[in-house]
């Protein structure tokens, strides 16, 4: 037990500290019905990393981080200006297109680099088991800072996600606040992808938020339910990864999947009782 704690303490801390903000942002994302925007932004960021590799920067150097952040900002700009009311071109379609085109571009770029395959795999599944203390603390610092900004301007951010028409009627600059939202969201996603990979970041964003939407209506209760779900699933996933010796990131994703399954079963029983 002592030994397992020693080995798993930083992955555990990463999975306890970092999803807090992801779950909150996930509620925004689910409400805006742009579920795949995180995959898309992560892929745009990965394209920046690919370019960095081609320019011979190490994947974890600041140059490569700056490149992926720069690309994320461009992605944030794209998603800001494609938020349309027109239903003839749903934003989800554009998000999907950005995802596949940047993924294909990444493959083209990395076909000239020997580390290509390894890097593409790493973006997808991450290495949460091998996270370093410095990585966890640095990312936690960033998340706290962005969390404070969100808390400070919560009226604006909540308005543009949950009631965009009302916000526009009150004279709020939707484009500006949208860009601020996507830019910070992209930064958060990029930082967490370096630790946990695309699969894990998607799961921490979306699964707890969906579970919460099944169980509650008020934002505050949804947030609490989301946090509890993320925490329990992380602990179960990490424990399973250690005791059955499974790849860590994938084990947590599956634990989150089980949590959702449990939630659906529980709510359908509740509905049956009400009927």
């Amino acid at each position: 037990m002592l030994e397992s704690f020693q080995i798993m303490q930083w992955p555990l801390l990463a999975c306890l500290l970092l999803p807090g903000l992801l779950v909150y942002l996930g509620l925004h994302i689910v409400e805006r019905e742009i579920i795949f925007v995180d995959l898309s932004l992560a892929q745009v960021a990965a394209l920046g990393t690919c370019l960095g590799i081609l320019m011979h920067y190490e994947a974890d150097s600041w140059e490569s981080y700056a490149l992926s952040l720069g690309f994320t900002l461009v992605g944030a700009g794209i998603f800001t200006f494609t938020r349309t009311k027109s239903h003839r071109v749903p934003q989800e379609a554009l998000i999907g297109i950005v995802y596949v085109v940047t993924a294909a571009l990444g493959i083209l770029l990395l076909s000239r680099s020997p580390e290509g395959n390894e890097e593409l795999r790493r973006t997808l599944i991450g290495e949460v088991l091998l996270v370093t203390p410095a990585q966890v603390l640095r990312t936690f610092g960033l998340f706290v800072a962005i969390g404070i900004v969100h808390w400070f301007f919560r009226d604006k951010f909540l308005a543009i996600s949950f009631d965009p028409d009302g916000a526009a009627a009150r004279g709020l600059s939707i484009h500006w606040w949208d860009f601020a939202f996507y830019a910070m969201f992209g930064w958060v996603v990029t930082s967490f992808v370096q630790i946990g990979g695309v699969l894990l970041v998607f799961s921490f964003l979306i699964v707890p938020a969906v579970c919460a939407n099944f169980l509650a209506e008020k934002l505050r209760s949804r947030l609490v339910i989301g946090w509890v779900t993320a925490t329990l699933a992380s602990i179960v996933g990490l424990y399973a990864s250690y005791s059955i010796d499974l790849p860590t990131g994938a084990a947590i994703v599956c634990a989150l999947g089980l949590a959702l399954l449990g939630t659906i079963v529980a709510t359908s029983f509740r509905k049956a009782k009400v009927l």
């Binding site: 080995i7 680099s113 020997p114 290509g116 390894e118 088991l129 091998l130 370093t132 499974l246 860590t248």
Partner: protein, 303 residues
């Protein structure tokens, strides 16, 4: 919590004493090193091999058990020469085991004492996945296996003096068997000296060097870079012009690429396991037997 810890502590200490007086905990990064370590250590060591025989040794995915094994290890055997550069360092950082730090007797770097081939004069990433200290796949030459076996035996004796005699005896047995088998392998391949084998990755250069089989044509345009149509067309042209008829692929490489090239050149695709450890190739000697005999058979079957 405190009370339970107090109860645990004597048990943990007891456990540590028992394992210390028992067998050496050895971790090897790749199965070829594992096979040699097992021949030397016998039942005086507890051996764990990280990479699977079918896995690409350049990229190995981390699992929690790897950290546990590395954390408890008395000795770590790595190939060195940057073979494990992409994955071993973060694992070691996570395992936090001072006994196997670089420079400690518990850290055994097999490449030390080996004359490496293809040491680059200029380092340039544009040349593909080039290893700065030379080609790291040196255990495809059985003579190098003998050097590594002696190295491992010395290191084991330093770590566990009580079993030093057993390690030395096992090493003498390994060296003797190597000597007699090497003569047989060389005899089996002698009729085909100078006949090239096309390989997917620049993995077999030491094998080719030992048995005089040129291996300078690869399906990869540069080490680590997936085959491109233009490069494969060039390979096919050269194979036709020089009548090259053997293409060797390893388990983790794309066999379809080799089959496509073979269908255009009347060549035969040979499946060469990268490492000992598969069925019928458990030990280093069985593995080398398989490589030599399958190659000799394929050459003999050709016009």
């Amino acid at each position: 919590m405190k009370i339970s810890l107090c109860f645990l502590f004597p048990a943990v200490l007891g456990l540590a004493v028992v394992t210390a007086s028992a067998r050496l905990n050895v971790v090897a990064t790749t199965p070829d090193l594992g096979a040699i370590a097992s021949a030397i250590g016998g039942d005086a060591i507890d051996l764990t091999v990280l990479a699977k025989p079918t896995e690409d040794p350049h990229f190995v995915d981390a699992k929690p058990s790897y950290l546990v094994k590395l954390n408890r290890a008395d000795a770590l055997i790595e190939g060195g020469a940057e073979l494990e550069a992409g994955w071993l360092a973060p694992l070691l950082e996570g395992a936090r085991n001072p006994r196997i730090e670089r420079g400690k007797p518990g850290r055994i770097i097999a490449a030390e004492g080996i004359a490496l081939l293809e040491v680059p004069s200029v380092l340039d990433r544009s040349q593909g996945d080039i290893h700065a200290s030379g080609n790291p796949h040196f255990l495809t030459d059985p003579v190098n296996a003998g050097i590594v076996a002696a190295h491992i035996a010395r290191a084991f004796a330093d770590l566990d003096g009580a079993a030093a005699g057993r390690f030395a005896a096992n090493e003498r047995k390994f060296a003797g068997e190597l000597q007699s088998r090497l003569a047989g392998w060389q005899k089996a391949l002698a009729p085909f000296a100078g006949r090239p084998v096309v390989t997917y990755h620049n993995y077999w250069i030491y094998f080719g060097h030992r048995f005089n089989l040129p291996m300078d044509l690869f399906l990869e345009p540069k080490p680590g870079i997936p085959p491109t149509p233009a490069h494969l067309a060039g390979v096919i042209t050269r194979m036709r012009a020089d009548h090259l008829r053997l293409i060797a692929v390893q388990p983790y490489q794309n066999r379809k690429t080799a089959e496509t090239v073979a269908s255009h050149t009347d060549a035969v695709v040979l499946d060469w396991p990268s490492f000992p450890g598969g069925p019928g190739t458990e030990t280093y000697f069985e593995w080398m037997d398989f490589l030599v005999l399958s190659t000799a058979k394929a050459f003999a079957a050709q016009p």
